[in-house]
């Protein structure tokens, strides 16, 4: 392994191509940490946005008009404003309202930049998910639910075993689109100094003056990540497809 890293040192010495994170352990750790942060950010947002989506879709059918209206306004607000503004809003405006603690001379927030990025992006993606889930659940005719009930399924069981699987299959392509978009949108966390790939790469090239090399790495990372996601998405969709339906 060392020899592999050594090669990059030689590369630097001979050509000036400075892939510093390859031969320098500190930089390597920094970069790997950044990759992990991006992946963690994407995954957290994915999970939370799904939760938001499910809750929102349920709330849309609630009896309380206040709740219904609230969800409606939430969706409209988050779908039609730029996510950059949303991140700034959550971090600077809402973040300021939250308690801080004394971290040795300066005030540190309990919910740091990473946390607010997750919150903001989850609500952003969640707004799309609510619509998707609602349409998916609506797609199952009541006749199907009634048929399930007449077979002895309780309402809850019918929902779990009949409605949700169908709704999920129908929603999957739209959810996948959302996920790919989400991964690309995580770069906006740069603006509030979350140490994800974009931000860390920026710091590294400021330290090491190797802009092109870091750019190459950035591109490969994102394009590669998205390509992997898209590949698995397609495979999953194909295995989940309902014959007779499909874009």
């Amino acid at each position: 392994m060392e020899a592999f890293y050594e090669w990059f040192q030689q590369l630097y010495d001979s050509t000036g191509w400075n892939f510093v994170f390859m031969y320098d352990e500190y930089e390597r750790d920094r970069l790997l940490e950044a990759m992990w942060v991006t992946i963690k950010l994407s995954l957290s947002c994915l999970v939370f946005s799904l939760v938001v989506g499910v809750i929102g879709a349920w709330a849309q059918g609630a009896k309380s008009a206040i709740l219904r209206n609230f969800i409606y306004w939430y969706i409209q607000a988050f779908r039609n404003t730029p996510p950059l503004v949303q991140i700034l809003f959550f971090y600077f405006v809402i973040g300021n309202l939250f308690p801080t603690y004394d971290a040795g001379g300066y005030q540190e927030q309990y919910i740091g930049a990473f946390g607010w990025a997750v919150v903001s992006l989850s609500f952003f993606a969640g707004a799309f998910n609510v619509e998707i889930f609602r349409a998916g659940v609506e797609a199952v005719p009541t006749a199907t639910v009634e048929a399930a009930q007449s077979l002895g399924y309780s309402r809850l069981k019918a929902y779990l075993y009949i409605v949700l699987p169908l709704a999920f299959r129908v929603s999957l392509p739209a959810l996948n689109n959302n996920l790919v978009n989400l991964v690309k949108t995580t770069t906006l966390a740069y603006i509030i100094a979350v140490p994800e790939m974009m931000y860390t790469a920026n710091q590294m090239w400021s330290d090491n003056v190797n802009v092109s090399e870091m750019m190459i790495v950035l591109f490969f990372f994102y394009v590669g990540l998205v390509a992997i996601l898209v590949y698995f998405m397609h495979r999953w969709e194909r295995s989940m497809r309902i014959p007779g339906y499909g874009a």
Partner: protein
């Protein structure tokens, strides 16, 4: 499908929308008039709140009005600020459309290397985050180039134009390709049977029919692009968001000015994008009636 569907029409709608979003690369921008009304109302509200909370040396409303011309069109020559957002979006769309259309046609070429190469380029720029592309172009292009004896400066906003035109180009490429392959194969076959060359078939039969299908997604991308131009404020390009930040710091960073200024930005962007979004919807309806 049988008369009694397994799933209700909303399933088909959902799948169609997802498919369309995947083909065109983005959700349709769906702005309604009442959004604008809400934004203006919100502006009034935050101004009112700021007025009440502020130390009232100068009313926030007056401050905003003072800075409005600066934010909207800057100082020298009136082409900075929000005007620059529009200028950048215009040129990026122009380049992106021309190059993207060429790429899209290359993706349906009969020559495998051309098809593969253009596919790789399209997918690469489609899947890259816009911020990364912007950074790359802005940092890696020199600030001036020398051709012979003349030195041509490349200002920041030009780099931003190039940076934005890359993802637009890739998405337009997909829109074009999608439109071409959406035509029934019968069109190609009957043209072939009449001994039209491939070029003639493309130019006289396929493309004219595609143009109508391409216009709504194309306009949608312009709306998305226009909303994305503030990204270049991160690099200091002198557009509306940068100027807003400068204005706020010139006012001493008063926290009660934060909301009014940013809501004002939302309002002016809405005023610009909303007509485009409505026109897109109208054009789509108009073009989908005819077969």
């Amino acid at each position: 499908m049988s008369d009694l569907p397994v799933l209700l029409p909303s399933a088909a709608n959902l799948l169609n929308d997802a498919g369309r979003q995947r083909r065109e690369g983005a959700f349709r921008v769906d702005l309604k008039l009442w959004h604008g009304v809400v934004l203006v109302a919100a502006l009034a509200v935050v101004l009112g709140v700021a007025e009440a909370a502020g130390n009232a040396k100068e009313s926030p409303w007056a401050v905003l009005v003072n800075w409005m011309p600066f934010i909207l069109w800057g100082q020298e020559g009136h082409w900075q600020g929000f005007s620059l957002n529009i200028i950048i979006s215009f040129f990026a769309m122009l380049i992106g459309t021309v190059v993207g259309a060429a790429l899209g046609l290359m993706q349906v070429s009969l020559l495998l290397p051309v098809r593969t190469g253009s596919w790789i380029v399209t997918q690469f720029f489609r899947n890259s985050p816009w911020l990364v592309l912007l950074f790359t172009i802005m940092l890696m292009l020199p600030f001036e180039i020398q051709i012979g004896d003349t030195i041509i400066p490349i200002p920041d906003w030009v780099k931003a134009v190039i940076g934005f035109s890359l993802p637009v180009m890739a998405n337009i490429s997909e829109v074009v390709r999608g439109a071409v392959i959406s035509l029934p194969s019968g069109q190609w076959e009957s043209a072939e049977s009449l001994a039209f060359t491939r070029f003639q078939t493309m130019w006289m039969i396929i493309l004219p029919q595609c143009v109508k299908r391409m216009i709504p997604p194309w306009m949608n991308w312009y709306a998305i692009l226009a909303m994305a131009t503030p990204l270049c404020s991160i690099m200091g390009v002198e557009e509306s968001v940068t100027f807003t930040q400068q204005a706020m710091s010139a006012e001493g960073g008063r926290p009660e000015l934060l909301a009014p200024f940013y809501v004002f930005l939302l309002v002016i962007f809405f005023i610009y994008i909303y007509p485009i979004a409505r026109w897109t919807v109208r054009l789509e309806r108009k073009y989908s009636v005819k077969i």
